[in-house]
Homo-oligomer: 335 residues x 2
């Protein structure tokens, strides 16, 4: 495990981390002791330009990060031992292939080999939500925990599991699809085709949609004026802003979000009995307005000893958890 890795010589080893998302690519460098983040940079993914262009951009960002990090640390190129990559979608970790990534329009792309060939370094590939969880565990909010559930809330809801100090991948690298947990078997339709998934209630777009529905039901709100009457412009972000301003409708939407998330998290507590749940993504901006009712719902639904064993915290590495975790996965797989 990275936390327990001692430098193998006086010259510290460095690893490049890549966090590939549908909107942005983030790349940075860390020494193997995890003590700092170096040369952290973000660029738009521009998946519309095609896989070749995206892979080019990733490799260029890796080279740039190494150049900047060498200038900052005085390290030689040989001290850079590898690249950890976090990517969305079902993956074949063993072969380093992105099987399907709808947001990128990719299918069966051998991303690890492409990066290794171009950069000339060893590389590993893991799921982006797994990386974000491992990042928060290695140097962030879940530090010191043994069993961690990580939940990343954005356009979708992703999850990662650390059990007994290691990422748990499941039997076909698909573990942690927390967003598609049924919390209401006859409930709202989800993009996945099912009904009542957590994601259909608590993802960013679902939060915005529930707000629009409430406004269309003629409940008064400052939300419509915030978006100049164009309800389609409402996002989860505008809901948090209106909630902070005390708008009753927005506050109700945030409270409901907390209840849905609380039911999902209680399920995870009752089955995994983790010592830490770390929640990342825009939704954490809602602060206490979210976390207070969320904790109350978890206490209501999960067993007391399970609740007492667990802290539920917001992530503290919003811009870099994915990169930090990608570095950590590389180190866990190359000890």
């Amino acid at each position: 495990m990275p936390q327990q890795t001692a430098p193998s010589s006086d010259a510290p080893r460095y690893v490049v981390g890549v966090d590939l998302g549908g909107t942005n690519i983030v790349v940075g460098v860390m020494p193997e002791d995890g003590s700092r983040e170096i040369a952290m940079r973000s660029q738009p993914t521009r998946a519309d330009l095609g896989a070749d262009v995206v892979v080019d951009r990733i490799c260029q960002m890796v080279e740039d990060a190494i150049t900047i990090a060498r200038a900052e640390t005085g390290a030689t190129r040989e001290q850079f031992v590898g690249v950890g990559v976090g990517a969305p979608g079902p993956l074949d970790r063993g072969r380093g292939v992105v099987l399907i990534a709808p947001n990128l329009g990719w299918r069966d792309l051998p991303l690890r080999a492409l990066i290794m060939d171009r950069v000339g370094l060893a590389a590993t590939l893991d799921n982006d939500a797994n990386c974000a969880t491992l990042g928060e565990w290695w140097t962030g909010a879940a530090r010191g925990a043994r069993n961690v559930v990580g939940i990343t809330i954005g356009t979708g809801i992703g999850g990662g599991l650390i059990l007994d100090g290691r990422l748990y991948h499941g039997s076909s690298d698909m573990a942690g699809e927390i967003g598609h947990m049924t919390i209401d078997s006859n409930g709202r339709r989800c993009n996945c085709g099912n009904y009542g998934c957590l994601e259909a209630y608590a993802s960013g777009p679902a939060i915005a949609e529930r707000a629009r529905e409430a406004i269309n039901a003629d409940e008064p709100s400052v939300l419509s004026s915030l978006v100049g009457g164009k309800l389609e412009r409402i996002t989860a972000q505008t809901v948090y802003e209106a909630s902070e301003k005390g708008d009753p409708l927005a506050r109700e939407v945030v409270r409901d979000t907390a209840r849905f998330l609380g039911a999902g998290i209680a399920n995870l507590l009752n089955t995994f009995n983790p010592d830490c749940v770390v929640i990342a993504g825009g939704v954490t901006q809602a602060g206490d307005a979210l976390f207070e009712p969320l904790n109350a719902e978890v206490r209501r639904r999960a067993f007391r000893p399970v609740v007492e064993a667990c802290r539920i915290v917001p992530g503290i590495l919003p811009g870099s958890a994915g990169v930090v975790g990608a570095v950590a996965t590389f180190l866990q797989q190359n000890q």
Copy 2:
């Protein structure tokens, strides 16, 4: 792991397994290679007579099992190396204490020490649902799997998790409380005080109750004649019987049970990505009438690669999984 344990000498070692339930105590002996079950016996628990009497009975059954097994195998007393105990309720495994067992009326009972003192052998204590899962994995229906979810459906719904070939206990020995997963956040009230738990739909008593509700709603059924008009006598068992006879109401109740279980199991597939789910308990008597709609619901709700990675099977050790698993836990903890 027991499967990989070779006998340490020519004289095989034997372990006694104890499965303590609210209704019955089952005790048996196995050699450390798991090749056979010896001297398997069951007696009523009679928890109403008090903890002392129950512990006496357990110890007497352990002694009897050793005597019978020695007569059958010619083994010496020294070849019996320990006792594995499976017991209900939240436990403190480290101290070997049953913290709370409502069905037994126990609180903070140091069961492991009591048995060790009386029998003069090393002992381990683990949760009964964990033991049942480990038993099906060691010599039963989940054999050969790496990641297993075990579900035991009786008066309640219990669960056990085997991840990467070992029992997963969670941060405070409470992992696997599958019965209290919310599948309908505004749904039926559960005995635990919450709403919409899987157990409130698919436990034995919940199945009987849903059948009674349908009859009270004036739906015709042979069920009422099966119990001589005394609806309170309907059990899950009578529902399965009526379903087998083709009674439409009972068949609908079984189909609904399958759908509820399917939603719960789909949640477990999407989060754990196991290669085997093994279902034990009376509900498996419903056979294909249960498993066909259950599989259909799982396919509808879980991701395809996750469904394809997993087989869902009934347990094949209905009388002895708990004992077999108790032996296996002893061996896993005493390698």
